[in-house]
Symmetry: C2
Subunit: 144 residues, 2 copies
DNA sequence: ATTAAATCGGACAAAATTGTCCTAGTTTAT
DNA sequence: ATAAACTAGGACAATTTTGTCCGATTTAAT
């Protein structure tokens, strides 16, 4: 579904958001630990999210990553996915033809677009805030 | 969504099915050409489909691949996907946790399982026959 | 100023996936 | 029998994705 990089990016964003809501900035090391991801690889993903204004990075001692309350409320899951995996989720053909194209559809196109529309809808209607909710109450997990 | 191998496998199966309905067995070379896939790589995929009884292979001169009418009607898209990509479509967690697990859900679990259920339902209700329908009439394409 | 704790970014390495090549074996036709 | 047209399968190569390492830079605290 998503690339590993994207999965880490989403998990990291959720963790940063949850901590930012508590008013604490978090370090790369802590993030990687809490979401159970390789440190250096996660660093790359965070850089990308930072460039795309999904998260904010603060350099220097006592630096780290954070997300403003406003952004936590505004940023959609779709934006995180787009920042890392681009739009292949939306444009890709289910059977691997160059691009999904309704004018020259593959044999699963009609069935496929329906599901993708629902996925798209889900991604675009789920905010970072929505995803942090269960966390504090221990209802959801970022690692196991 | 699916691996390249799986995409080729599905396209190949559809092509073989469409030709089998016309009563003609097709060679690897022809398949690769018609679905625009690398020949040798496609051969591996076909071997796997053959081992999983999705398609039948006939060795020797005038050999090739075919699918019985009965199987064209019975084989579901889900079986093809399973034969090549296994069950990670069903068991995988959207955020990459070891396994999707409702008891210890990730933050997108509830939203994710809905979409996956629809995907599953689609895969399990679409037969090879369904997918061959548009082909002959030039309504759908296996290559572009 | 110095040091320590961070991110940044480039180069590199490992692993997985995708793709190629070649030989062996099988079957049909001549 | 021999040749031709196939598939089977192992070994190998290229590419992409995933992951690591290390030096440079930034910032805060001492
Ligand atoms: S053309 Fe294949 S999914 Fe749209
Ligand atoms: S636990 Fe993540 S999708 Fe079910």
């Amino acid at each position: 579904m998503f690339s590993k990089a994207c999965e880490y990016g989403i998990r990291a964003s959720i963790y940063i958001a949850s901590q930012s809501l508590e008013g604490t900035r978090v370090s790369l090391k802590e993030i990687a630990e809490k979401i159970d991801s390789p440190v250096a690889f996660t660093a790359k993903v965070l850089q990308q999210l930072s460039k795309n204004k999904i998260i904010e990075s603060v350099k220097g001692s006592s630096g780290g990553f954070e997300i403003s309350k406003n952004n936590i409320l505004r940023i959609k899951l779709s934006q995180i996915v787009y920042a890392i995996d681009g739009n292949n989720v939306y444009e890709g053909c289910g059977l691997g033809l160059k691009r999904c194209n309704a004018k020259e559809p593959c044999p699963v196109h009609n069935r496929f677009v329906e599901i993708r529309a629902e996925l798209k809808n889900m991604l675009e209607s789920t905010t970072l805030y929505d995803m942090t909710m269960g966390l504090e109450q221990g209802l959801t997990y970022l690692r196991r």
